[in-house]
């Protein structure tokens, strides 16, 4: 389904409550493909991988993605001067930034993240890790939290087994740039059998314009472990110039491990470009609950892939996004089942104000042999502006015959009857709108099951609504 504020006619809301699925291809005009295979790692050393990525970087242009004429995500307006070039002295080797570690958490970062009990925290500012903290009791029990560049040296066996195991390095120039030039990074290892109540926080922060941040995260959950990871992506507001965050994230859960992974992304008012790939692999009897909250960035392209790789793995993939002003968000979320039996439950909600553009492609892919897979994908969108555009494209690729897979969704606008109802109770229009939008996001937001994060996201939603107030009024009158 698809809806545009201008021109194109809206799709019927509540369409496709469920689609009967037979083996074969059932795809609408989708643009992206799942990684769905081995990554670039697999026996090559880090130096070899960096060299190969550099090769790909040199021989590629800034990426442009086009979907049948109606949707274009183009990074060509990104200033290439920003990217580390092959001539750059740091290209192809690790940056030694250990002297940066004592710098501590910058104020704009500390102010943006809830102060709450945590198991550990690692903060990367621009190109370097500036802060690492780990509960000593957990360190004693074998937990590792450190910059990934350190892990490459100090935990070589783990690093070489898992690094880039499922991530590619050469699909596009920015992915190659990350694989060639990454520095700092985060490595988290939770050993077998360990249950950690408080979250590990991984922070990528950008201090202003002119930064190219190549974030790289590797998280390993040992057998029977249980833990939480909260990633925060943020930037200091800036007026002029551009910055880039091109990151790669991988998380692997071994037998019966359980992880709740949440990400709050808000790059603020500066022109931050974000091209990131994230992969979560769920092992035998393991479970992952993954919830990205994508709340701002000038131009954002996310590939998010959650794969059940071994029998009886299960996952819940929730997400929300809210674009404003001139922002452009392009999200591809994959619910991948490589073996069965397996379970999946994908539920995303997105809203748009201003002249922003948001596209969500959701793909259920069930590989041959992934019998007894049961999964469902739903995407709900809410238009808050006549000039915004929201595309939601669910699709299903099934190569097994004993499965259930379906998708559904709705395209909505603010309901004037609800606003009048609330007005009759004394709530002014902005308050009523805020309640409706919060209510719209609530089924996903409440799944964070984490009060400080929920409050953080609610606050950001409220701020966006306040900023878009005139726009929302204009839309109401236009209708």
């Amino acid at each position: 389904m698809s809806v545009a504020g201008n021109g194109a006619q809206p799709a019927p809301s509540g369409s496709s409550g469920g689609v009967a699925v037979k083996p074969g291809r059932h795809r609408e005009a989708s643009l992206y493909h799942a990684l769905a295979g081995a990554g670039a790692g697999g026996g090559r050393t880090l130096a070899e991988l960096r060299a190969a990525a550099l090769e790909a970087f040199e021989h590629s242009e800034l990426p442009v993605w086009r979907r049948s004429g109606f949707w274009t995500t183009s990074f060509t307006e990104l200033d290439e001067e920003l990217l580390v070039t092959p001539e750059h002295p740091d290209a192809g080797r690790l940056v030694d930034a250990t002297h940066m570690r004592a710098q501590g958490v910058p104020d704009f970062v500390a102010d943006a993240i809830p102060d709450r009990p945590r198991a550990g925290r690692i903060v990367q500012l621009d190109e370097s890790v500036v802060y690492v903290e780990l509960d000593p009791a957990l360190a004693e029990r074998g937990v590792i939290l450190c910059p990934l560049e350190d892990a490459a040296r100090e935990h070589t066996a783990l690093f070489e087994e898992w690094y880039s195991k499922r991530l590619t390095i050469d699909r596009h120039k920015l992915e190659a740039a990350n694989a060639a030039f990454w520095s700092g990074g985060a490595f988290l290892y939770v050993p077998d059998g360990l249950v950690v109540e408080d979250p590990f926080e991984i922070v990528y922060a950008i201090s202003g314009a002119g930064v190219a941040q190549y974030g790289r995260t590797l998280v390993l959950g040992g057998k029977n472990s249980a833990f939480k990871v909260h990633e925060h992506d943020l930037a200091e507001d800036f007026e002029e110039g551009q910055s880039l965050h091109a990151s790669a994230f991988e998380l692997y859960l071994q037998d019966n491990a359980r992880c709740r992974l949440a990400q709050v992304q808000d790059w603020g008012s500066g022109d931050v470009f974000d091209a990131s790939t994230r992969f979560v692999g769920v092992g035998r009897d393991a479970y992952c609950h993954w919830l990205p909250a994508l709340l701002g960035g000038h131009l954002v392209r996310h590939h998010l892939e959650l794969a059940v790789s071994e029998p009886s793995g299960d996952m819940a993939f929730r997400g929300l996004f809210f674009t404003e002003a001139q922002e452009h968000l392009d999200t591809f979320a994959v619910d991948l089942h490589e073996t069965g039996p397996s379970g999946g439950d994908v539920h995303w909600r997105g809203a748009a104000t201003g002249q922003s553009r948001a596209s969500f492609e959701g793909l259920i892919q069930i590989d041959p042999g992934a019998q007894k897979t049961h999964t469902y994908l739903q995407i709900h969108t809410l238009m808050l502006s006549p000039k915004a555009r929201l595309d939601a494209i669910p699709s299903v690729l099934v190569s097994a015959d004993d499965v259930s897979a379906s998708h559904g969704g709705t395209v909505g606008e603010l309901d004037e009857a609800s606003i009048f109802y609330m007005a009759s109770r004394g709530l002014d229009r902005p308050s009523a709108v805020r309640l409706l939008v919060e209510g719209f996001f609530e089924p996903v937001l409440s799944q964070l099951e984490d009060e400080p994060l929920e409050e953080l996201v609610r606050g950001k939603i409220a701020a966006k609504l306040a900023a878009a107030r005139e726009d929302i009024e204009a839309y109401a009158e236009a209708r």
Binding site: F420, S424, R425, S431, L435
Partner: protein, 255 residues
């Protein structure tokens, strides 16, 4: 001037004139019933009194507590003490009854209500209206039965303590137990808080549980007959048709 003073009210929607000169006055502590056949303009009057944007006042005025509110925003009318219990309450997914009530109460105040005070008020209203405590943690009207929605309306009315409430066919679709609860709730709020009410209905049965002092009959956008409860009895005997015949002869309504 009465608390709610409606004068010569003409209202149109989508190029159709629905109210054609309504005069009506309601004071705090008075219970009025407004009756009339389908399409006579009852719901239009209710929505217009709260400022629904689809209804345009073309002539006449609405005053409330001395202020001309003919053009006021809906939420301003509510804050000044008017209330509308909806015929079809909408659901507000993601917002609990209790949270919604707290926000509505705070909208009328300068300082947010204290948690304890709110809890006490809520407890009192729950007992008054015989609703389940768990009810208040459910999302407002989301998946509610018809009876639950109407109870939620009356619960909101009790919590917001309006001076004048308009109940738009609150009795429709209710079984006899729900009807009694709702009607007794209105009667108690009248007795305890001095609520003034305009009960809009086209059945007589709610009026067995709540006793109006004034009864108005609306036909073709005009109030054609006014009196006391004896009017209700007459309606029960004769039906609207007889009254229509009578006023058609006077040229007030169409046959």
């Amino acid at each position: 001037m009465a608390d709610l003073e409606i004068k010569n009210l003409h209202v149109r929607t989508e190029d159709r004139e629905i109210l054609r000169g309504v005069d009506l006055s309601i004071d705090r502590g008075e219970i009025h019933a407004l009756m009339g056949p389908n399409g006579s303009g009852k719901s239009t009057l209710a929505n217009t009194l709260l400022g629904h944007p689809s209804y345009e006042v073309t002539e006449g005025s609405i005053h409330f507590k001395g202020q001309d509110i003919t053009e006021a925003e809906p939420h301003e009318r509510a804050k000044s003490g008017l209330f509308l219990a909806f015929q079809y309450p909408v659901s507000i997914p993601g917002v609990s009854v209790a949270n919604f009530l707290r926000m509505a109460i705070n909208a009328k105040r300068d300082e947010p209500i204290r948690v304890k005070e709110f809890g006490q008020q809520l407890q009192h209203a729950i007992e008054l209206l015989d609703v389940d405590r768990a009810f208040t943690s459910r999302h407002l009207n989301d998946g509610f039965s018809g009876g639950e929605k109407k109870r939620a309306e009356i619960l909101q009315m009790a919590m917001l303590s309006p001076d004048v409430a308009i109940l738009d066919e609150t009795d429709s679709g209710l079984d006899i137990d729900a009807l009694r609860t709702v009607a007794e709730g209105v009667q108690r709020l009248h007795d305890e808080q001095g609520l003034g009410a305009l009960i809009i209905t086209h059945y007589q049965r709610i009026l067995h549980y709540v006793k109006p002092q004034f009864v108005h009959i609306l036909m073709d956008g005009r109030i054609v007959l006014e009196g006391g409860v004896e009017l209700v009895e007459r309606l029960e005997r004769e039906g609207y048709d007889q009254i229509r015949q009578e006023f058609a002869q006077q040229g007030e309504v169409a046959l």
